[in-house]
Symmetry: C2
Subunit: 507 residues, 2 copies
């Protein structure tokens, strides 16, 4: 700050109700004296202070009559960050230069950063000192293979320290992560009760969907309460050995959420940031043993076995430095898993598997037991080759279903997922063999139908690659909460005939 801001009269805060996502934005009139005197202009970074708090925000200049003289407008994230009330007094000044940007520049210049440098960068990002362009520069500078394993370890440490960390005071706490989602691949709510029924501790926190039709937290929310405080989560885990909660409100590796948003906008993925993202979340949640599931397939995030093996090596190397036990599993990433795509439809798949009903999707059941089995083997609970059998026994005996119900009751009660009133079924116009499925377009249909905002919306997808289908057989059914969204999804479907390719079958 160049000098005490009190020398100018304060501005009066006004909530504009503009959601600028995570970026803090303030709005000032072009004729505001502080703009002139401080030399602020559109897009300046400005230190905004109330009587209680301060934050750095990006300035937008207002030329119309959106603001009265003496007012300062706030976007929603800026309003929340400063915990303001209408007409609160606000002072503006120049923020101190963000020192850690010199480390970002050093990374651009090809230098190796130490843990102190990563900690400064991550702390400044979490405290809102970086504009999105700064985060983009950091993500880009760390892209490709620009971080060595020591740097990935240091970045992971820094991300853990910037948030809260749960200590379960137990020698073994298990967790799992799937790299790059497949539509409908909702194995977690099946794996958790299987392992908890085996006596393991698995305090599972999951995310909501960001670009997909459902996240594990969205699916679980159609069955029970998932918004637990850390204290409530501890209570559930103490009682049942496991939970299935939403991780969003727990401040576990908060830098991760901010980095992921910019990475997604840029489409710049790096092995280093993927590993730091996954491991920081798991370690912050208190895990000691983690299974990493990497689906490999032509339209999956990891497309070849060679790429999967390289990623697995780096995961192992960094996890070792962080004293975390991990195991990496490669799985089939070629097509959707289960039948449902969308929160409630996926929940019905899960219930069918847990309840051992005859029409339960076999691929979902098989996948869940494979992962659970690998975890039982990894921790020495079962011998090599025996894990999956054990998982199947626990599932088929009904113990996993009993444990699932108990976990849901501890979280606030088990209820049935909603059912969509509006439906449309796509039938096959000729007999043949399912030759190709476009996972991305399928997810788009589910989102147009309303998922995940409408939990009952989505797609039931009935066929698998290589399956023989008959004329007029139903390939998929779209579910929607209202006629408008149903029509929107159907129109998209009609314009995209390549979502499922049916080849003429050989006779």
């Amino acid at each position: 700050m160049h000098f005490t801001p009190e020398r100018m009269a304060p501005l009066k805060a006004l909530r504009l109700g503009i959601d600028s996502h995570h970026e803090l934005i303030i709005y000032l009139r072009a004729d505001c004296p502080v703009c002139r005197s401080e030399g602020f202009s559109a897009m300046s970074r400005v230190l905004v202070s109330s009587d209680q708090q301060y934050a750095i925000a990006t300035l937008n200049i207002v030329t119309g009559d959106l603001l009265q003289k003496g007012q300062i407008g706030f976007s929603e994230p800026a309003w929340r960050r400063l915990a303001l009330k209408d007409s609160d007094s606000i002072w503006l000044s120049h923020p101190k230069p963000v020192q850690s940007l010199s480390y970002v520049r050093a990374k651009v210049y090809g230098h190796t950063l130490d843990e102190m440098a990563f900690q400064s960068i991550i702390n400044d990002i979490v405290e809102g000192r970086y504009a999105d362009v700064h985060v983009a520069a950091f993500v880009t500078a760390c892209g490709d293979d620009h971080l060595n394993n020591d740097e990935i370890t240091a970045l992971t440490h820094a991300m853990i320290k910037a948030g809260s960390r749960i200590d379960w005071h137990l020698p073994m706490v298990v967790d799992k992560h799937c790299v790059g989602g497949l539509p409908g691949n909702r194995t977690t709510p099946i794996i958790v009760p299987i392992l908890a029924a085996c006596g393991l501790t698995m305090p599972k926190t999951s995310s909501r969907a960001i670009t997909s039709p459902a996240g594990t937290a969205d699916t679980m929310e159609t069955l029970t309460n998932v918004s637990l405080s850390q204290e409530e989560m501890r209570q559930v885990v103490k009682q049942e050995g496991a939970c299935l909660a939403w991780g969003g409100s727990m401040r576990l590796s908060p830098a991760d959420d901010l980095l992921i948003q910019v990475e997604r906008a840029l489409g710049i993925d790096s092995e280093g940031q993927l590993i730091a993202s996954v491991l920081s979340k798991k370690i912050a949640a208190g895990a000691t043993h983690v299974l990493i599931d990497i689906p490999v397939g032509p339209t999956a995030k990891v497309r070849t076995t060679a790429a999967a093996e390289q990623l697995a090596r780096s995961f192992h190397s960094v996890a070792k430095k962080l004293c975390l036990n991990i195991e990496v599993l490669f799985s089939d990433g070629s097509q959707p898993v289960g039948r449902g795509i969308g929160p409630a439809l996926e929940a019905y798949d899960i219930l069918a598997v847990l309840q051992n009903t005859p029409n339960a999707p076999a691929d979902l059941k098989n996948r869940a037991c494979m992962v659970a089995g690998a975890m039982l083997e990894m921790i020495g609970h079962e011998k090599k080759g025996e894990g999956k059998k054990k998982a199947l026994r626990i599932l088929e005996s009904g113990q996993a279903w009993e444990k699932f119900k108990a976990i849901c009751h501890a979280q606030g009660g088990l209820h049935m997922p909603p059912v969509a009133p509006y439906r449309y079924s796509l039938v096959c116009h000729h007999a043949g063999v399912v030759a190709e499925i476009d996972n991305r377009q399928l997810a788009q249909v589910a989102k147009l139908a309303g998922a995940p905002a409408d939990p009952e919306a989505g797609v039931e997808f009935f066929v698998k690659l290589g399956e023989h289908v008959k004329e007029n057989q139903i390939l998929m059914t779209i579910h929607a909460a209202n006629a408008g969204e149903l029509n929107y999804a159907v129109e998209y479907l009609e314009d995209h005939h390549t979502i499922v390719r049916i080849d003429e079958a050989e006779i």
Copy 2:
């Protein structure tokens, strides 16, 4: 575009009067059906279409009553880009993926890009397809020495082609550029009339200040009209052989302006982008022979002779590939030049030098003649060692002043710069020697006093490094248009005693 946007009712355009600088922003209500159906959320990139035009914009979601149902709000740059009128019909859809981002990613992965790749990137940036985070990724990926000389050449070519280019149909058109400004270093308005008086063609376009107290265009605007169309500029140059115009409205290398803004926010300078920026502007303006002035000093942009020599080598190498004749000059970058800092005060220095008045700042005169002389030698107009003498003769004979008046008259008339009514002088409290001057803080005082928005505001700075000063000698005078801004600058001065350091003189 996924499907024809006409299937939804259009939204009605509303101008919100928010200046989001160069980034196009649109505002939609959270309950807007298109958000739900298209899956748009805060910060989504959206293709916005009117009946006539389209553009890609970033979405902000409005939760208050800023917008009525069915309305869509526009920031000023978005409103201008689409050339809208109130209540115009607007359709929204998903933009096609920006293909050239794959080249940015390739650069992150260390690949070498060809001219086609740079052209795609630069065209997409100029057409507004990149959000700021994408520009930041490009700038970062090209940072440090990540571009080889062939890539810098390709980038320069691409930047030239993305804008307009002036062809003077002459064998020799001269220009100059100074890398990294010093306060008050306004030599251009002296050099141009000297060279034009020697019969050279010098169609000079300059920029306004972005972060400094004055740009050459701001200074010239206190003396004459600088907002010329390309046609008006041609007319002035045809008549007088030279002009001193503002380059902002001529679309010469428009990508440069967008890249520079993000580079400045990031503080990531790269040799490659500096060279492409300078040379693309000069070649687009039709120059054939360019002198590059690199001030070297501890607080200048280039700090050591070694760094200056490396930069000069790269400039030579790229200019050769672009068939542009250049000469690089190293100059003293240790302290301000002339007395005035601010548009009108610098203009008075220029007038004093051109009119050969006794109190004309000798350092400004010397610098201008040194650069003009180097240019005369570079083009073979004068022998080595004779250029500066020739420049001095032209200046001292009054020919440069006559030419300057003629240029100003051709541009619309010569008038006297304004004079500030409010002043404050800082005196020296003890005798001694001027040991250090903080150029950055000095520029800050001039900006707080109102420069460049108030052209008469700024600082007159009277002493030079190594000069002996007496007790009560005036070190600087602040000029302001009103008492408020004067006080603001004085308060800053009182809080920053290190702007000028006076050491006790040895006896």
